[in-house]
């Protein structure tokens, strides 16, 4: 039974596959401010400058982490390079009481939630599995198993409903995931639960075009935002390299969720400019031409152009941000280098909330075993 060319005749998928569908954009790659009827956005110069600062700082934090990994200070790092606008735009659309469920790449969102960047390094340094307090900043721990967090986010949103915290002054949840994640059963089940429960949640998919080495075509043959309609809630594609559009679209969706209008799927159309992680080698599977074309859509450069053209930035503004970025980078590096190794007792801690005798016994045996070496040393 030899394998013949598998039948791949013309499929009957909607035409969207041909020409890319409309995507919400408020700031062109050239830095021109454009309007969108559904997404009017009032932003002051200061707000845009604040967003610019966020973008530059998170990129700098990311660079620093990559450098730390190269120098052996981190085991691995998942870079957000190229996705700063999607993350900062959506992150800044959240209120303090909203809850965010990230993947392992949402460093920009973490920044917007006020989490100390150094905290992010613990996981990648192998010091902990993610040691921050999710309740302190309403930013959940990083989830590595693809898609799992979308169900957690949906359940959390069901809790908001049961707390009666939906309505004006309500709360909502945002669940982050990637293009590859849309293939996981869990993500689709999350869509189903959210729709049936009409839960206050926004599904924020950063379509960075790649799932490690697999291009989007391996996951879907139609634009991802269209997935939502079939589940009974709206889907919208936004220019993920446009921080203003990402902000406006997420704001509107979050507000709708808070008011009880249910879920929205946002597909942030962006690009993973770096390797999947520091251990990945993209040259094996993608062309640099693609990278070059996306460089022209850089999320930071367009904001800078906008500020310059409009003369919105006072003299020294950009230099000051650069200086601050350098400072933040140094702080992160310092924190990383000074990060203490975990005590071996951490192996046995926090497995259970209540006593678990067999494990306590293992812990004691371990301690005795370790001590025996110390004794041996001393013996010498």
């Amino acid at each position: 039974m030899a394998v013949k060319a598998a039948g791949r005749a013309a499929s009957r998928a909607p035409d969207e596959r041909a020409q890319p569908p409309e995507l919400v954009q408020l700031l062109t790659p050239e830095g021109e401010r454009v309007e969108h009827p559904d997404y009017p956005l009032e932003v002051s110069a200061d707000e845009v400058k604040a967003l610019y600062r966020d973008l530059v700082l998170v990129r700098r934090i990311d660079f620093e982490a990559i450098a730390l990994q190269r120098q052996g200070e981190l085991g691995i790092w998942a870079s957000l390079l190229g996705q700063e606008a999607a993350q900062v735009g959506s992150g800044r659309a959240l209120g303090p009481r909203d809850m965010a469920f990230p993947t392992y790449r949402e460093h920009g969102v973490a920044w917007c939630r006020g989490l100390d960047p150094a905290k992010l390094l613990e996981l990648y340094r192998g010091v902990s599995h993610g040691g921050w307090d999710p309740t302190a900043h309403n930013f959940h721990l990083y989830t590595i198993v693809i898609g799992s967090q979308t169900l957690h986010a949906t359940g959390y949103a069901m809790g908001i409903q049961r707390d009666g915290a939906v309505g004006e002054d309500g709360e909502a949840v945002i669940a982050y995931f990637g293009d590859g994640a849309t293939s996981q059963g869990d993500v689709n089940e999350a869509f189903i639960w959210a729709a049936v429960q009409n839960a206050p949640i926004v599904f924020f998919c950063q379509n960075n075009q790649w799932a490690i080495s697999e291009p989007l075509e391996r996951q879907s043959r139609v634009p991802l935002y269209q997935r939502a309609t079939g589940f009974g809630f709206p889907g919208i594609r936004v220019d993920g390299n446009d921080v203003l559009a990402s902000l406006a679209v997420t704001r509107k969706a979050m507000q709708a969720a808070r008011e009880g209008q249910g879920p929205t799927l946002i597909e942030a159309f962006t690009y993973r400019m770096g390797a999947h992680t520091t251990t990945d080698d993209p040259t094996r599977y993608r062309l640099s031409a693609e990278l070059e074309s996306w460089k022209l859509k850089d999320p930071i450069e367009r904001v800078k152009q906008y500020l310059i053209r409009g003369g919105l930035a006072e003299p020294g503004f950009f230099e000051d941000i650069e200086a601050e970025a350098a400072e933040v980078g140094t702080r992160v590096r310092k924190a990383c280098l000074e990060m203490p190794d975990p005590d071996t007792s951490a192996i046995f801690a926090d497995v259970y909330a209540e006593p678990f005798p067999p494990l306590d016994a293992e812990r004691d045996q371990f301690a005795a075993y370790q001590a025996s070496f110390a004794d041996a040393e001393a013996g010498r």
Partner: protein, 327 residues
């Protein structure tokens, strides 16, 4: 004291838990109007509303995954998996998320989620409705695994499980759902035997018989039969499979010098293996015979017409007891 079926005792236990704590929720397939296919949640939606007793979409990963989210928001979900054989779609959420969240968060997050699983065979069901997957969860650190064997324990243990801040996999012996016996609903939880302790059901001197869930009744009957042959079985209902109440186990085997472990799950890689290994290590010089295991064979669960041959019964327990005396 009132006589309740095991199914009813669970129902009353959950009702009590829901009255005591408004954060307790029930979720699963058909748990609402229908009251579950075994009626364990009968009437709860009527009395506590659709927001607290949730008929979920038909997807087990979704049930456990959203329960985790609800727990993160401060709720205490009790999930019903309709049958043992349908817990596997939820295995990823249970193993990689539910069991590990506390560890991952360095103790900052608790997931007080109870997962109820009707387990075991003996009811003449079709494939996937008679399984005993407990060993899979016992091997997964971060979970408590318990099994109730009679109505009285069912009533208290379900409440203890719901009030535990650890995730609990709660096994219910489905073929015993209709067994009736006295339950003391007056006594509070404080007085009850802790969730992680075993209970000596029958005191004896010759052999220690360890069992749980559906096999408790079987082994108690075996003890009576054995007594007629002048053999004194000590029957211990383990109740907690993770953690194991090793002190109770070791104390008993230390006295009897013989031990038989009985469960419905396949012997290969079953809980009996862990118990045998621990008992042997701890009671090595006291053992007159190796710990023998009585359980399902190392095959998939057979069609209903054959289950009586597959499942451990009184005769197979006694046969194992005899064999321990052959050493």
């Amino acid at each position: 004291m009132t006589a309740l079926t095991l199914s009813r005792a669970l129902n009353e236990g959950m009702r009590r838990a829901m009255e005591d704590d408004p954060r307790v929720l029930i979720m699963g397939e058909d748990v609402g109007k229908l009251g579950g296919v075994f009626r364990v949640t009968d009437g709860l939606q009527k009395d506590f509303g659709e927001d607290r007793v949730i008929d979920t979409p038909l997807a087990e990963s979704g049930i456990v995954g959203t329960a985790i989210g609800l727990a993160l928001r401060g709720y205490r979900p009790v999930c019903e998996i309709q049958f043992d054989g349908f817990v596997y779609p939820a295995f990823n959420q249970i193993t990689a998320q539910l069991a590990k969240m506390r560890y991952r968060s360095l103790g900052k997050l608790s997931l007080p989620v109870t997962i109820r699983i009707p387990c075991g065979g003996g009811i003449g069901a079709v494939e996937h409705h008679s399984e005993s997957p407990e060993a899979l969860f016992v091997h997964t650190a971060g979970l408590r695994v318990v099994a109730c064997g009679d109505p009285a324990d069912a009533y208290t243990m379900i409440q203890q499980a719901v009030s535990s801040d650890d995730p609990v996999i709660f096994f219910e012996p489905k073929r015993r759902y209709w067994d009736k016996s006295e339950v003391d609903q007056a006594g509070g939880l404080a007085a009850a035997l802790p969730l992680d302790r075993a209970r000596t059901l029958v005191s004896g001197t010759d052999v220690t018989v360890l069992c749980y869930g559906p096999m408790v009744k079987t082994c108690a009957e075996a003890a009576v039969a054995a007594a007629e042959d002048g053999r004194s079985l000590e029957v211990i209902d383990l109740r907690s499979l993770a953690p194991l109440d090793t002190s109770a186990i070791f104390e008993s085997v230390g006295r009897t010098g013989r031990c038989v472990v009985v469960h419905e799950a396949s012997v290969t890689g079953g809980l009996g293996a862990e118990i045998a290994a621990r008992v042997t290590e701890e009671c090595f010089y006291r053992l007159e015979a190796p710990v023998l295991r009585v359980g399902g064979y190392s095959t998939p669960y057979p069609p209903a017409k054959l289950e009586e041959y597959f499942l451990p019964d009184l005769d197979r327990v006694l046969d194992a007891v005899d064999r321990t005396f052959a050493y």
